[in-house]
């Protein structure tokens, strides 16, 4: 099968698609460049999607949080651990890692939330809950 340049991979966390890189194949584990989620590549028909290999685990959210900060060059402060505990509580009570400071349990508020991915940290210096901070 030829991998076309315009192929995209769908990320179930940020619900966006990113470019399929040359050399990738089914089963490879890659990082979503938009939200930092670790994904196992899976082909379904003509589409590529990423499975969450450690879905709902503490390891998953800790890796995603660290990876996203690394990708965006954001930093944390001393609230990080308490906020991660909040994310873990959201997952236990509401089924996924939604922002611990928001009421709404909808996909756009899965951490890192859509406003954060849309530039809130760059604009405001921090994300809504204060997990990610702009590096000064």
């Amino acid at each position: 099968m030829t991998v076309h340049e315009n192929m995209r991979v769908y990320c179930p966390v940020c619900q966006a698609k990113f470019r399929f890189a040359p050399g990738w194949k089914e089963g490879d584990v890659v990082i979503c460049p938009i939200c930092g989620q670790k994904l196992r590549l899976k082909r379904s028909g003509d589409e590529w999607t990423g499975d969450r290999p450690e879905k709902g685990t503490e390891k998953e959210i800790r890796e995603r949080v660290d990876e996203y900060a690394r990708l965006k060059v954001f930093v944390f402060n001393d609230m990080k651990e308490e906020l991660v505990q909040g994310l873990l509580a959201k997952n236990r009570r509401f089924g996924d890692f939604y922002c611990p400071c928001r009421m709404e349990h909808v996909p756009e508020f899965m951490c890192p939330c859509k406003p954060t991915r849309g530039g809130d940290v760059e604009r405001n210096g921090k994300c809504y809950c204060g997990l990610y901070w702009k590096k000064v």
């Binding site: 609230m79 308490e82 906020l83 505990q85 909040g86 994310l87 509580a89 959201k90 009570r93 509401f94 611990p100 400071c101 928001r102 009421m103 809950c129």
Partner: protein, 83 residues
Amino acid sequence: MSNKPKVYALSTCPYCKRTRRFLDEHKIAYDCIEVDMLDDAKQDEVLEEVEKLTGRRSFPVVIVGKEIIVGHDEDKLKKAFKL
């Protein structure tokens, strides 16, 4: 109606936890409503109440007398409770 201070909080929010810890440490009795743990109908009602009081849906909210404190702010809490 109770005259006790009232705290609106989210069960997962660390700032809400800090506010509650601050009040507990200062032995201040208060009523706390964990908004995210309410059933849907009650939650709508309480959220409307919070929005009416503060103009937004942000937590924690502390009501002490006529004063309304949004967010965890120890200086404002100290002032409101004369600590």
